[in-house]
Symmetry: C2
């Protein structure tokens, strides 16, 4: 299994649950956005054994910390995650609440002119809200 090494290399024990969640998250052609509930559903669909909700939360947070997932800053009652951890931005369709990737090449360079003393920029995230 290709994920066993990935997990071990990040200091995470390659448990059955983590490997299965890796399959659901990363064994896909395209990256995608999800909430915990959506991920839980995907897991139910693709996997025979049950994985407890707490484990899904634990795993997603562990993966986020390791940089395998990113949270998407958006105002919603649920937290959105992205399996696309490359530098990119999002459209957010207010009508249906759906997110659409905006590749970095779709956005001109972002020039932040102001500096904050003693701080450096960790990331720049652009959210483009869409309406009809």
């Amino acid at each position: 299994m290709k994920y066993i090494e990935k997990l071990r290399n990040s200091g995470l024990r390659p448990t059955k649950q983590r490997i299965q969640i890796c399959e659901v998250l990363f064994n896909t052609e395209k990256t995608f956005h999800f909430t915990i509930n959506e991920l839980e559903q995907k897991i139910k669909d693709k996997i025979d054994n049950k994985i407890s909700l707490a484990t899904v939360y634990n795993t997603v947070h562990a993966f986020e910390k390791k940089g395998y997932l990113k949270q998407i800053p958006i105002n919603s009652n649920q937290t959105y995650f992205d399996t696309n951890v490359t530098d990119h931005h999002h459209f957010y369709d207010l009508k249906d609440g759906k997110l659409i990737d905006l590749e970095n090449s779709d956005v001109g360079p972002i020039d932040i002119k102001r500096k904050i003393n003693g701080k450096k920029i960790k990331s720049i995230e652009v959210l483009v809200k869409l309406e009809d």
Copy 2:
């Protein structure tokens, strides 16, 4: 009272509570960011009578709908609002969770090259995360 007209003009009845919340939110030299809990505290400090939590929520949402407040898209367990409704962006200091305004003039123009069929851009929001 200057807020009575403002409220009435937006189709909101100028109740005592709404006027008082206006004072707390808008009768300041500088704009500011807040969560509902922080606003509740401010209200307690500045106002003699009690305003119920539900009213604070109702009012903030009403003001947001009318465009007097903006939600700040950020991942937090609480929702952040901004009394600065002009077009601008934010630094977010990950260390202490504080937000800092980034005036539009501090950010070069943002060029969104991709279009989504039948949708138009309502807003563009940039969140610049800071670390030490």
